[in-house]
Subunit: 253 residues, 2 copies
DNA sequence: CGAATAGTGTCTGTTAGACATTATCGA
DNA sequence: TCGATAATGTCTAACAGACACTATTCG
């Protein structure tokens, strides 16, 4: 116990992960939109806290930065590795899109004293998310309250970040399954942006978006497949992404 | 000595500041541009390191997060306060624009072991910068090398960040003195962006940019003054900012 | 055939970008 | 008046945004 001594005090260092996904929302009867299909809704994952403070309360999945080499436990190479481990251990997710959001600090944000937490945000398609049967709750990402610490602010920052990036990158495409229809992708963009966008403009932009291959050749970001998604009307063509990387648009969206 | 003991090891927590400014660069004889006046160059502040490792080597100004209440020294409320203190103590600067950039971590970035450093970036006009007579060196911000740790990468990230923000905010306006000409502001934008921009388009956009007052009224971001800057030809009108806050453009730039 | 959904085409007002022109100073 | 720099106007091609139209399936 108490084996690690330093000349100066050091803060607690943790990571928190804002895990976003989308869920289908049956179009409410009150909706006046002509567009049929389903609406999508941006959600954030919350897990019950295992330890003090706030045990049992739903909060962002988080963990200490593990650098103790003597325990035999897996140690974290850096903060991003800790966030990835958190996703793996608490959500059963691996290989999902993960980027640093911001670092939060201050004496008031944690009752244990001055804590430094680096928040990451992650995006996962509902298909993959459903596979992890862990005890994960989904809450509306927009306007989230009733979470401990400063997690509401962190989620709000995360929403702002992905909203900003959605206007000039393919970031929302991280939220669709391997094969998807263009309308589905549009709905996901709308869920992230929180506002409707124009179908024909969206399709035009998306279809002419190209990605640079390592060889220097450019290929379309969206690859048409032979498959279709049957529905009530004309079946929709299914597409695949040419890459899982984040692509930046030549001009803003 | 060694008064602080913890059950688990904790990393070193520091902040580093990427302090940007611009300097006038006499247009080289090789320049083919018709535009006269002076070019501006984006610079970053480096200070000689006071302590191990790399004592004496030029590096980003940085400091430990101070949370030791017993020393009688000033303690930091949070990371941003530490960055502000660093600017004050090492550069003699106070009240400059300061925002969080990113947090860096990993066992390889510091010979002392796993260190976590949160980088901030700050912008200051050359007028204010010149007042702080401290031993501060200015290096070209673009393509900086020959700095210890991962500071080259941090500066590169900082340049990328302010370049991005320059296209949709008034961030480069943080780099001009209280009164400035439109051409001067344009040159600063060009220094940040690293590419020339169109004079007439720039002026049009800038002049029609408005800021929301607390009362709800909108006023132009640029306020015309009665003063002019004499030069070789027609004198240029001097402008003032209506606010010191960062303004976001309605549409991208 | 008609309802329902997928996907495309067309028109228009706005605007970025290039370039020419005018304005105002000192010598 | 000329040289130099500041500032504005004009033209064009591209494009966002709105809307109408065509296409394809099922019952």
């Amino acid at each position: 116990m108490s084996k690690f001594t330093y000349e100066h005090p050091r803060p607690i260092v943790t990571v928190d992960v804002v895990l976003f996904t989308v869920v289908d929302e049956p179009t409410g009867g009150l909706s006046l939109r002509c567009k049929p299909s389903v609406e999508k809704r941006l959600k954030v994952a919350l897990v019950p806290r295992a330890v003090e403070p706030f045990p049992g309360v739903l909060a962002l999945p988080g963990t200490y930065l593990r650098i103790d080499e003597e325990t035999g436990d897996e140690i974290d190479d850096d903060l991003e590795a800790a966030a990835a481990r958190c996703l793996r251990q608490k959500c059963g997710l691996d290989g999902v899109f993960l980027e640093q959001l911001k670092t939060y600090s201050g004496p008031k944000r944690d009752p244990r004293g001055l804590a430094v937490t680096t928040a990451y945000y992650a995006l996962v398609s509902p298909t993959v998310f459903d596979k992890c049967a862990a005890a994960i709750n989904l809450a509306d990402a927009v306007g989230l309250t009733d979470v401990p610490f400063d997690h509401a602010g962190i989620v709000a920052d995360g929403v702002a970040r992905i909203r900003g990036k959605a206007t000039y990158t393919t970031l929302p495409a991280m939220l669709v399954p391997k094969r998807f229809t263009l309308l589905e992708l549009e709905k996901v963009y709308e869920a992230v942006l929180g506002r409707p966008i124009q179908t024909s403009f969206f399709r035009k932009k998306m279809m002419e978006l190209v990605v640079q291959r390592r060889s220097g050749k450019t290929v379309p970001f969206l690859r048409e497949t032979d498959w279709v998604e049957p529905g009530a009307g004309r079946p929709a063509r299914l597409y695949e992404k040419a890459t899982d990387e984040l692509i930046i648009f030549p001009q803003r969206f």
